[in-house]
Amino acid sequence: MSPNNAASSANENWGSRIGLILAMAGNAVGLGNFLRFPSQAANNGGGSFMIAYFTAFLLLGIPLMWVEWGIGRHGGRYRKGHVPGMFAALWKHPAAKYIGVIGLTVPLVVMIYYTYIESWTLAFTVFSATRDYFGNSTQESMVTYLQSYQMIGDSTVHGMWKPFAFFFVTLFINIWVVSRGISAGIEKLAKIGMPILFVFAAVLAVVVLTMDPLTPGGASPLDGLNFIYNPDYSQLARPGLWLAAAGQIFFTLSVGMGTLQAYASYLTKNDDIALSGLATAATNETAEVVLGGSIAIPAAVVFFGVAGAMQVASSGSFNIGFATMPVVFQQLPFGQWLGVMWFGLLFFAGITSSVAMATPIVAFFREEFGIRRETVAWGLGAVVLVFGLLQILWLQHGMLDEWDYWGGTFGLVVFASIEVVLFMWVFKPERAWASLHEGADIRIPRIFKFIMTYVTPLYLFTILAWWGVSDAYPILTMAKTPGGAVPNPADVPYINASRAILAAIVVTFVILVRMAWKRNGYNDRVGFAEVTQTSEL
């Protein structure tokens, strides 16, 4: 196969190992750590959820983390920072590159709606600093305030321009960071953003956990922790609990997205991935279990009692984050600055994840078409802007839920199932195991070879089959919405249009991959030429 000329110009590196781990952890730590995890734990049997959660972490999360780092670094040997190229490097078959299109589609689709949600956190940081929502002291009035911003229902609270303006600014910051590259953009952002995130989260956790009950004998923050951790053993027999825990592990570790692979592709074959992958997972879990579980739910319990917090938790993660927490902050000294810290930490959690989603797409166009990084980044920004505007306008019609289900939920499990089979079965367990240990600072316990070869794929296929029957099919046939409700007939045209756009994105990437392979004269049966990797961490 002819060497790819574009590849050499697309070569970049991480500046330091700590920078790499912070960027990887920044990719993993997202809104789900602080909003989704506590409500999932509280709604699914508390301590019992933690049993299923840690089981999924050991059997799914850590193995998939290593698989993705392994696939990424292997792709990097051929300067392939995108999944079609990585899959083609693992499996010398013409179908591999087309299967890999899922690794371009998922990050693009998720980036579009995730950047929009991220813009809410930036907006609410400003609204906290300016005390804009102060006065909305009940959950109901804050939900109205939030929905007005989302252009659902009463739109008189906020001007129409606000969601568009904050989305534009958020997207601009994202693309500016991406356009600066791996070391000068993404790594620098992680080195600034992650410490701020951890400090803000730690301060908020201390403030919440030291709050006094509002009335003598009233609920305390410890009642909130009790609500999260007290086990309901009867729930362990419920398959839904195990699926919820597995789903949370997927979302929190950012596996099945193509982003960890893209970051790992900038490592050399002598760089460690076994220990770095584990450190990344540990950092994410600390943010989630220790900090994420200690803020929103305990605060909600103090102000609304256990029954009220249960109601809030079951009404959705966004209501906790964007309605309940502002109600709480209004009652506390320095509430506006606590609000700035809360939404600021969510913003940093979001942006360190969304820039990762851009990385495989930028890598694809740079490496395969030789386009300059800045040009690709701003071009990608234009695409995200167009579809992001649609997300704003069609949020009330279910577009975000639809894309989140097919791209950010079901798509992740499909992607992970494919990659684990390719790495552990097609690439073969011995080669995969040896590849993971190249340059490794630790020996991975041998039991994980068995887990990664048999248990993880089986676990994934079980989830896939279960979700396929219980959710994917009824959602596809519009028997229900991703939220579980009966679809509103007025929304059906919007849902169909949202799906048509998703299908068009997949087809476009298939055509682009075909063009790239033809343009560069790749031979699927021969493989790629190895590139010289010099810079080690």
Partner: protein, 36 residues
């Protein structure tokens, strides 16, 4: 908080914090060994 809840919380926090401290300690020690 019930004793069971405290136990579940302590085990959960203990597991992740141990993993965090152990992994970063190993990284620091292996990086120190690699330095010429």
């Amino acid at each position: 908080m019930t004793r069971t809840a405290i136990a579940f919380m302590a085990i959960s926090w203990g597991c992740v914090l141990t993993l965090l401290v152990w992994s970063f300690a190993r990284i620091l020690s292996s990086d120190a060994k690699k330095k010429p």
